[in-house]
Subunit: 442 residues, 2 copies
């Protein structure tokens, strides 16, 4: 008796699959079956075509399939300011260069063009989801929707006026309208995004806390990025920013706190107790001279850690594979402990842990039946990845973003054999050059 | 009157040329003129073809031409052990994994095959010269000569027997025969390479010092890589390895000392006084948990610093562009000083400073008339490198080894539009897989 085969959209057969699920499975010669944008099955490749018949089939030998990478802290539009101001510390960089430039530049068009350039770079580097904070979130969402990338977009709140909004209430109102517009989009979710404790007042934070609670929203903020930020807070509020946000009721499992470079033991205890998610941005923290976060302590305490690139103006690459490698090497080196953090720990920070930080772990972050099909494939069949004794080690230590061969978001292919499927790179480069000419003149 | 044009081999016209010479020139729209393997002229691109007629012409728009990168500390053959033993500290890694594996494996064929794989990876990444230390240097030289890569190869000396040699005198004798064989080769030079203070006796070091003096040879060694090495030396010799080598007369401007991770002020003073060259290997030092070298102090004291990848078994990529970026970010982060080290400082560490460390700075390391034409070109016309406000910043912070478009060694093209000209990559991958199967069984 011949059993009828089930028709599905896509079957991807890969030499290795790292699931990043609770079992940390590394499957050999398995296939991921995709239908309706979902992972509907994970089957041995030997038998997958006895069960399924697919519209599209990918046979990826010597390649490693992982959950799509998540950039858990970004400011996409700033890709147009990549390399605009280098080698200076955060407060000078921000106050004397970035904010004045933004004052001149920021507009929906700037955000759209910068975000598009950033998304192209990220998709090619295997990133399927980003967690953004910038002005004109509507513009970022439009591009994200057009390209088909998954996005968690912040409703940014600041206490000072910009072209975008006049005061905290105005930022929030604009954000809430934005949120309503995109509520039913399958790829776009939102957070409330107070910029930082040094740029948002107690009153605004309290208001944000209330909204987040009532609307069951996640929060995304910068926290403890520099020693100066903490010193200023101690002087002004007689407590660290973490203690202040704790008092204001902002800390909880719905908070993704970027940076957390400087923490005392009390701070770490508060973060742990409140189940706050940390987003580690090693390249940006180093480049701005902010310092090196104590990831060893946070990791050993069991604090959930995701990885982020930060904006292009302070990194200057939106490349989570580089952040994975930097995270591993940096903390082994800093702590003189080669056994601290294994490849799979860092890969999980860039996938399932980041998904948790964004409140999206029910939907994405691992290769599990029932999750959305956000998938990245790394080609290990290159001279720099040979020989390969352990595909996870080869991925994190020897491969890089140029090893990314295929990317799917929500079941749709976005990168095929290293090429962007629906983005014209030449056009992007041409447009970036136009902005460069304009920005050089300001 | 029409002046006759001079016929030359190659003209490379590039949007930017960073010379890495004493003037740190960044030339815009200039051309490098090559003949007989030498840089014979550097002329404005507007007028170069009024003066020269070339067999080969390269018009490289939006590309940055720099001196060929130098990998100043490597163990090429170990590329076959890439990823063989990860996430463990140096002494366990070396004593329990690497040395036992090498005991089973090392042979001229292992060295030839591993070196060939490494050279392919390095050339693609813009490296034109390497400074190697391994067994069977003859095998490395043969491959280097066949491929046409510039090499400074160590006559390795150890006090314990291996398949290659029985004792220090035997290592040295074999090395000196090797040196004589290759003396007249234009691409190959040699150093004496005592492995490390912990594996070479006072007697052997004294002998090495005498030979180096009489033959006017450079020396290449590992030095102060771990805290344990220093503690052991203090116990055994009542002095640090640096103090011991000073006493033995090994320290001088002809010494390239890899690592120097842990240094007290006395050690730094001794290195400075003796004009010792330091080779910084940030990735390897971090991955093995050895620590982070105090590059700030060495740089501020004016000690000459080159960059190295170390072997593939401890890094796991032979990629000087990654080491440049890591050097910049790591020391800004460690010292919380965003202004410490500028892009050009790190580029010079990977070119002219490394050339000095190898005693090759009269021949290579900068784009100057009269130097050998070792040249690397970086393509900045990609989405990740746009916009570009400063080509040096874009190169070090945004580009990576996959941005390398063209490479010349001694005037011969080795990489053309990202492809290796005279190496078959598929064959290399196939061969690496055969070794992988064999090595997995030991």
């Amino acid at each position: 008796m011949i059993k009828e085969k089930k028709n599905v959209e896509t079957v991807i057969s890969s030499s290795w699959i790292f699931t990043a699920n609770n079992d940390d499975q590394l499957l050999e010669n398995y296939s991921v079956v995709i239908d309706g944008g979902l992972i509907v099955d994970i089957v041995e490749s030997d038998s997958v075509f006895n069960i399924y018949q697919a519209n599209e089939v990918y046979q990826l030998t010597d390649q490693l399939l992982i959950p799509g990478l998540i950039n858990a802290h970004s400011h996409l539009a700033m890709s147009l300011l990549k390399g605009y101001a280098d080698d200076m510390e955060l407060s000078i960089w921000l106050n004397n260069h970035i904010w004045p430039a933004e004052k001149n530049l920021v507009s929906p068009r700037f955000v759209r063009d910068g975000s598009r350039l950033a998304m192209a770079e990220m998709l090619k580097g295997g990133i399927t989801t980003f967690n953004d904070m910038y002005f004109y979130p509507q513009a970022t969402a439009e591009v994200s929707n057009e390209i088909g990338m998954r996005a968690n977009i912040g409703l940014v709140v600041l206490d000072f006026p910009t072209e975008y909004a006049s005061d905290a209430q105005d930022y929030l109102n604009k954000g809430l309208i934005f949120r309503d517009t995109w509520r039913d989009n399958p790829l776009i979710t939102t957070s409330i995004a107070p910029h930082a404790p040094y740029s948002v007042s107690d009153e605004s934070f309290s208001m944000i806390g209330t909204y987040a609670n009532q609307l069951q929203m996640t929060i995304h903020t910068h926290l403890h990025e520099t020693e100066a930020e903490i010193a200023e807070s101690l002087q002004k509020f007689s407590m660290t920013p973490i203690q202040r946000l704790d008092k204001l009721g902002i800390l909880g499992p719905n908070l993704a706190a970027a940076h957390c470079v400087h923490l005392n033991n009390t701070d770490i205890g508060i973060l742990k107790k409140n189940q706050v998610n940390i987003i580690h941005n090693p390249s940006s923290n180093m480049k701005l001279g902010s310092g090196v976060a104590n990831i060893k302590a946070l990791y050993e305490k069991g604090v959930n850690i995701g990885l982020g690139s930060d904006g292009s103006a302070s990194n200057n690459r939106l490349d989570i594979i580089t952040e994975i490698r930097s995270t591993l090497l940096l903390h082994k080196g800093k702590n003189q402990d080669a056994e601290l953090l294994k490849p799979l720990d860092a890969i999980k920070m860039a996938t399932i842990n980041a998904a948790k930080a964004l409140g999206l772990d029910k939907k994405i972050g691992s290769i599990d039946i029932g999750k959305r099909a956000d998938i990245t494939v790394i080609n290990l069949n290159s001279i720099e990845c040979q020989p390969c004794y352990d595909p996870l080690s080869t991925f994190v230590y020897s491969a890089d973003k140029n090893s990314v061969s295929h990317v799917w978001v929500d079941g749709d292919i976005k990168v095929k054999k290293q090429f962007l499927v629906n983005i014209d790179e030449d056009k992007l480069i041409h447009n970036a050059k136009l902005w460069q000419t304009k920005i050089k003149k300001i």
